[in-house]
């Protein structure tokens, strides 16, 4: 093995690019009017701290892309940040409808581009592969084909079979939450994890800019230990924000569970636009940062959703 002798280079002070950023700085990358791909599924591993900060920064006219969304999109919609969504689901899992989503769609404030899980995922997949469109049979005969104006039709050049086509999802920014990353932006997930969220990788790769919040920033050596756990090499990542419990109130695989108590409270607040304003004031605008938000939830309660960790 070669000896390491930095002085030989005459450039021992060459430093690697540090992609860590504060939550506020990271979120400033998201411009009004942009399209944002959101990681996570159902009430699992959505980048919630990033979403709260987007509301704090008063983002406007966003188009949100996802495949299975919940409190993440409902919050942004309730805060008035959103003009359109493209996803297969916005709901609150066992807690029923997303009230803000429902109101905004019924009033026409938010436009929905209907997707099934596979069409949304395949649109991200196409984006992650650099193609501008993707064929799919899923919408044939369904209301998606009638009502999602982006869906077009073609026949297979070989079999003559009817297909739909979709434009690739290629969001301006993707926001995802992961377990660890090094300061250079190599992002990892624990080996034991819920595999619904493997779609996060496609979402990130399809985007022009990528913001990743992580439970913990780790050393480059820690990344070296298990290179097969890296879901995004650094060249896909623009900034890394360390935010412990950054997915709260959604779950984070085997690290912590979703916070059903908090989500139930959320549903109460969301019943009317007026009470939802109180939620926003209390949990978003009146807290300075993520730690103040966690303080509001309370340490004892946060411990109750902890799961036995299994890291890599």
């Amino acid at each position: 093995m070669a000896t390491s002798n930095a002085s030989m280079t005459g450039s021992s002070n060459l430093v690697k690019k540090d992609k860590r950023a504060s939550l506020a700085d990271a979120v400033r990358l998201i411009e009004d009017g942009s399209t944002v791909g959101i990681g996570g599924s159902l009430i699992r591993r959505h980048p919630m701290a990033v979403i709260y900060e987007m509301i704090r920064q008063n983002k406007r006219d966003l188009t949100l892309l996802g495949w299975n969304n919940a409190v993440d999109m409902d919050l942004l919609i309730g805060a008035g940040c959103v003009k359109a969504v493209k996803t297969a689901y916005v709901g609150m899992a066992m807690l029923g409808l997303g009230h803000n989503f429902r109101r905004a769609v019924e009033s026409g404030e938010v436009k929905v581009f209907e997707h099934s899980e596979s069409t949304a995922i395949d649109a991200f997949r196409a984006g992650s592969m650099g193609w501008s469109f993707v064929p799919t049979k899923t919408p044939l005969g369904s209301g998606l084909a009638d009502h999602n104006e982006e869906i077009k039709f073609m026949d297979c050049p070989y079999t003559g079979d009817p297909y739909c086509v979709l434009p690739a999802f290629a969001p301006d920014v993707a926001i995802i939450h992961a377990h660890t990353a090094d300061a250079c932006g190599n992002v990892q997930l624990d080996s034991k994890r819920e595999l619904d969220n493997e779609v996060d990788t496609l979402i990130a790769k399809s985007a022009n800019k990528v913001i990743v919040s992580v439970e913990q920033v780790v050393s480059e050596d820690a990344i070296y230990q298990n290179p097969e756990l890296t879901i995004l090499p650094k060249f896909f990542v623009d900034c890394v924000v360390e935010i412990p419990l950054g997915a709260h109130p959604t779950a984070c695989d085997c690290r912590y569970d979703y916070d059903l108590e908090f989500l139930s409270k959320y549903q109460e607040y969301a019943k009317s636009p007026e009470t939802f304003k109180e939620f926003l004031k209390r949990y978003v605008f009146d807290v300075d940062d993520h730690y103040q938000y966690l303080d509001l939830i309370g340490l004892q309660h946060l411990f109750s959703i902890q799961r036995p960790k299994e890291i890599s």
Binding site: K137, L140, G141, K192, L195, V199, C254
Partner: protein, 270 residues
């Protein structure tokens, strides 16, 4: 032979009879309460019953979780930690789970909806005019995939006029669309609704018209009850059966071996 049983036990046994050995059966997760019993509890119980009677090679698939050991249920079916550690034969990325549908390998998909029409078309997107909906619902999830690609869908529904409607307001899951041959005409080469399970009866679809038809009434349910609670004209043939009652052996199996804690059929949370 008969014994006391609850409606969800009757349904689990009835569903199990229609599951075929070696098929893959997709079951969603993520709902709670009565919806959980319908969408997860009954299908999973039915899968295990089938595995223990006539279908030892049946493969249940819960999202990315394939062929879990149904003799060792996790303490909660909603806790990711428990699900990830549940003994299963495979855990694959969700995108590949959906590819199983597209690839034509899915036997049965369990689906439900806020509306169903005589052709088995389903709606979980919006009630009323789509462009100005009375109620906006959650969106299609993977229902469009189930209904496009599974060899047959098993539909579990609440049986009310509000749900059994002449025409769904939005087709989020394609049934037989406008009638016979129409699936093929739009390019859906296989699949379609198989059976509909409600608290009153089991329904199937008439081959000639592709319209819904009463297959069997649950014990004690009057034909009129079904008709009154259905918002469209059902095909009523001469050979309507009575849904068989569960045997005491089956009830014992469910209560003592498959679901002793009531996780599945009572949606209990430990």
């Amino acid at each position: 032979m008969s014994t006391d049983y609850r409606i969800q036990e009757l349904l689990a046994v009835e569903v199990s009879r229609h599951l075929i050995d070696e098929e893959v059966v997709f079951i969603g997760i993520g709902t709670g309460g009565p919806a959980f019993i319908r969408a997860v509890g009954i299908p999973l119980t039915a899968c295990r019953l089938a595995q223990l009677s006539h279908a030892p090679n049946l493969v249940p698939m819960l999202g990315p979780l394939i062929d879990p050991d149904l003799d060792t249920l996790p303490s909660s079916l909603r806790d990711d930690y428990e699900l990830v550690h549940w003994h299963s034969k495979a855990q694959i990325p969700e995108q590949e789970a959906l590819d199983v549908f597209k690839r034509g390998k899915m036997g049965v998909g369990f689906v439900s909806g806020a509306q169903i029409d005589p052709y088995g078309n389903l709606n979980i997107v919006a009630i009323g005019d789509y462009d100005k909906p009375k109620v906006r619902l959650v969106g299609p999830l993977a229902q469009t995939d189930h209904c496009a690609f599974a060899k047959r869908t098993f539909i579990t529904m609440e049986h009310t006029k509000r749900q059994f409607v002449e025409k769904v307001d939005f087709i989020s899951g394609a049934g037989y669309l406008g009638g016979p041959g129409e699936r093929d005409r739009v390019g859906l080469r296989q699949g379609g609704p198989g059976l509909v399970f409600t608290d009153y009866c089991v329904l199937d679809f008439d081959e000639k018209t592709a319209r819904m038809k009463i297959k069997s009434l649950h014990p004690g349910v009057a034909l009129e009850t079904v008709v009154e609670n259905t918002g469209f004209e059902l095909i009523i043939s001469d050979d309507i059966e009575v849904t068989p009652e569960p045997t005491s052996t089956q009830i014992e199996l469910i209560r003592q071996r498959i679901d002793p804690e009531g996780l599945l059929l009572e949606a209990r949370v430990q």
